[in-house]
């Protein structure tokens, strides 16, 4: 079986985000970009499944401008066998990404498509569900544990839902989206970085895949969250009670 993993290049999780002065989006010039943390988890899960002998190949896929190749290189250094880059400068929203992924699934025919549950830049949490719908595949979202049954071609997935864990059993091929506690991604070791140098990154354009990129969304404005007001130090319990009663009106 082949596993396809979707990888997104985002502003590094640890970078402090700055909104562009014209409020059209977030500043990405001269900002450290890295692999979306949930995508790292998705890739780690695919590599683990391959190591357990259930899959024969892991293919990582990324979409967007040329620099996505750097992120794909990281995925290869972590252990993916080969990579696909869909090269486009267009703004990609979840539905377009889902359509492109579907087209690639038609080409590659994987038995499992794994995605992060969401990207930390737009926090959409839509692509996995949309692509499952387009493919008409079953989906196991917010996975915190995945067990595959080789004989029956079934995946048992623990899902993190309100108030606890829901366990679902789905037939393969299927779509999985990964939650934070599924696994701990591995590091890129030097021997693997060396091996990754000779791995192939294949390039497609949306035209090659017969997908028209258009959006039903328009971003009106991006703004920073309101600044938190500074706290005040009160000098006595009486003053505190007075403030709670008369200013905050909570008691």
């Amino acid at each position: 079986m082949k596993i396809m993993v979707a990888i997104k290049r985002v502003v590094d999780y640890a970078v402090k985000i700055r909104v562009k002065s014209d409020k059209t989006g977030v500043e990405t010039n001269n900002v450290k970009m890295s692999m979306n943390p949930f995508c790292e988890i998705a890739l780690e899960e695919a590599l683990k499944i391959k190591e357990s002998g259930f899959a024969s190949e892991v293919v990582s896929v990324s979409m967007g401008p040329t620099q996505c190749v750097d992120t794909l290189r990281t995925s290869l250094a972590m252990g993916a066998d080969r990579a696909i880059h869909v090269d486009t400068k267009e703004m990609l929203y979840p539905l377009s990404v889902a359509k492109l992924l579907k087209a690639l699934v038609d080409v590659e025919k994987p038995g499992l498509l794994i995605l992060g549950k969401q990207a930390i830049d737009d926090d959409c949490n839509q692509t996995g569900q949309m692509v499952a719908g387009l493919l008409n595949w079953p989906q196991g979202t917010f996975a915190s544990k995945v067990v595959l049954d080789k004989e029956k071609h079934v995946a048992t997935v623990d899902r993190e839902v309100d108030g606890g864990i829901e366990t679902v059993s789905i037939d393969l091929p299927a779509v999985l989206t990964t939650d934070l506690r599924l696994n701990q991604p591995r590091y890129a070791t030097l021997p693997n970085i060396m091996k990754a140098k000779s791995k192939v990154i294949k390039k497609f354009t949306p035209q090659d895949l017969n997908v028209e990129i258009r959006s039903d969304l328009e971003v009106v404005e991006v703004t920073e969250p309101p600044k938190r007001k500074a706290g005040v130090l009160v000098s006595s319990v009486d003053e505190l009670i007075d403030k709670l009663k008369n200013e905050a009106r909570v008691i």
Partner: protein
């Protein structure tokens, strides 16, 4: 770089608390909540100190020191005078607050001061010192109290002059990168202030969340960036200090070049508050570069670590920003005692681990250069294995291992710490000799700033034990002296090594130091029982 590591703390807290704080379906990588986590980290460190206090108890090294009878004790008249200078609120007699200020971070030393003063201006410091000098009241300047050699706490009943309330940033020049600020600014606050301006502090160290720039300068703190930016003797452009008699010395220049007479500011850098109290600092800050890469590497023997350093200097010269090492015993301690720490490398364990950091201006070319260097070193066998951080979280988790060694040591029990400068090729011999010497009685670990020839030799024991100490000292000092090293590379002498200075300095040099001390502080009220042997100063 600071950001990389700050993020590490946040990330660990995040993982630990995500199940409680975050709704299971909400984005767990939530940027907006980071400051809260950082705060938690600080309290954890304090808790840790509290924990060690209970576990180990005080081990006061001041066994041989005796209170100098020349010094007056503080009386009620003195206290009302201080109140008239500072106001009621800033004259602290509260026992809990004094207990913290009397005790060092390592919980090794404990003074018995009954009074802490919190001046807010240079003028107030001047008035305090003038009065103390006239009354022969001994004082100890105190910043973040994160020192490791008992330099920042009173030994007996010295009045504590705490600089925490002098925390204003006076000015910042974006063109020259010169920052002028008060002595009580916490290093981390300066780092985040500069980050917004696109600059960094030329020094960075593990204690940055508590330590103050005044303390950093007066102890000439080293840290992780020294290999790139040099010591504070080079980066501090000027300072303002108050002498023992209250005279305010304004040397707060912002010039890079100024050859007019004796450059007296250097007397205050590294003299640990024994010649004057630093109140303001002007410091040169380098611009923040966008491309930072970090590799965590394994070497099979110490000679490979050295050869790799030489190669790194040659091949990565202009972008090399840190070259740190730890031995397998240090890594073991971290993995055992530090929450959230994980070995970045797959098994087996290797004898030595190296962190190489590069900082430059071009992401893709820097990374390519580092990768090529690492792969060549792997092929030639200098490196046995290694990982390259792919994002900031990974980098901060690597740094967490190196920076977490002191914390892990504290959690493991008692620890005798030695901070030595040695010729790089001899450095690790001392660790091995010490290991043979102590046998199974202690866990001897070595780590530090290999790029600067600075070894942190740490001897971890279940509890403090004088028979073990007698095997370590004076052997460690004699060994260092024999190999022309320094018995204090970056921690200072403090109280711990005040009578050990002769291991690294000639009698003539020490005598001149004593004369300078006598000249600048005739009554010896400034930070007594520290830096110089008591026999020379009392």
């Amino acid at each position: 770089m600071d950001k990389w590591r700050a993020a590490g703390f946040i990330y660990r807290r995040l993982l630990k608390h995500s199940s409680i704080l975050n709704h299971p379906r909400s984005p767990n990588f939530n940027r907006s909540s980071t400051s809260g986590f950082a705060y938690n980290y600080c309290t954890e460190l304090e808790n840790l100190a509290g924990y060690c206090k209970q576990q180990i108890g005080y081990r006061n090294y001041a066994t041989s020191a005796e209170r100098n009878p020349k010094f007056s004790s503080v009386n009620s008249e003195d206290i009302s005078h201080f109140k008239s200078i500072l106001g009621e609120k800033y004259v602290i007699e509260d026992e809990d607050k004094l207990d913290d200020a009397n005790t060092d971070w390592m919980r090794k030393y404990k003074g018995s001061s009954k009074l802490m003063l919190q001046p807010r201006t240079t003028e107030e410091v001047s008035q305090i010192l003038k009065y103390c000098n006239s009354r022969h009241i001994a004082v100890v300047p105190q910043g973040g109290n994160t020192g490791l050699v008992g330099g920042s706490i009173p030994i007996f009943d010295e009045v504590i002059i705490n600089t925490s309330l002098m925390h204003k940033i006076v000015s910042f020049d974006k063109v020259s990168g010169v920052l002028v600020c008060e002595a009580g600014c916490v290093l981390e606050n300066l780092i985040s202030f500069l980050d917004n301006e696109g600059f960094i502090m030329p020094l960075d160290l593990g204690a940055k969340g508590s330590c103050q720039i005044g303390g950093n300068v007066s102890t000439n703190a080293g840290g992780l960036r020294l290999v790139r930016y040099g010591s504070l003797h080079g980066n501090v452009l000027g300072l303002e200090a108050v002498l023992a008699d209250g005279t305010v010395l304004d040397m707060l220049g912002t010039l890079r070049k100024d050859n007019t007479g004796y450059d007296l500011k250097h007397l205050f850098i590294g003299s640990e508050g024994s010649l004057g109290l630093i109140t303001k600092i002007s410091i040169l800050t380098p611009p923040k570069l966008s491309s930072v890469n970090l590799a965590f590497l394994a070497c099979s023997d110490y000679s490979s670590c050295q050869k790799l350093l030489l190669e790194a200097k040659r091949k990565l010269g202009e972008i090399l920003s840190a070259y740190e090492f730890l031995d397998v015993q240090s890594l073991d301690l971290v993995l055992k005692h530090l929450e959230g720490a994980r070995n970045p490398l797959p098994p087996p364990m290797h004898n030595f681990y190296i962190l190489i950091e590069t900082t430059g201006s071009d992401e893709s070319s820097d990374k390519e250069k580092l990768e090529a260097f690492l792969l060549r070193s792997l092929e030639s066998g200098l490196i046995s294995d290694g990982v390259l951080a792919q994002d900031i979280q990974q980098a901060s988790s690597f740094w967490h291992i190196r920076e977490g060694v002191p914390e892990a040591l504290m959690k493991a029990g008692g620890v005798y710490k030695y901070d030595l400068s040695l010729p790089v090729e001899k450095m690790y011999d001392l660790v091995e000799e010490m290991r043979t010497r102590l046998g199974s009685a202690a866990n001897v670990v070595g780590y530090g700033h290999l790029g600067d020839g600075n070894l942190h030799l740490n001897i971890s024991i279940p509890q403090y034990d004088n028979t073990i100490l007698a095997q370590i000292e004076p052997f460690v000092y004699e060994w260092t002296s024999k190999h022309h090293g320094s018995i204090s590379a970056e921690h200072g002498l403090g109280h711990m090594k005040a009578d050990k200075i002769h291991y690294s300095k000639s009698p003539e040099t020490v005598q001149l130091m004593a004369s300078i001390k006598k000249l600048m502080d005739p009554h010896g009220i400034l930070n007594p029982y520290k830096v110089l042997p008591p026999s020379l100063t009392s």
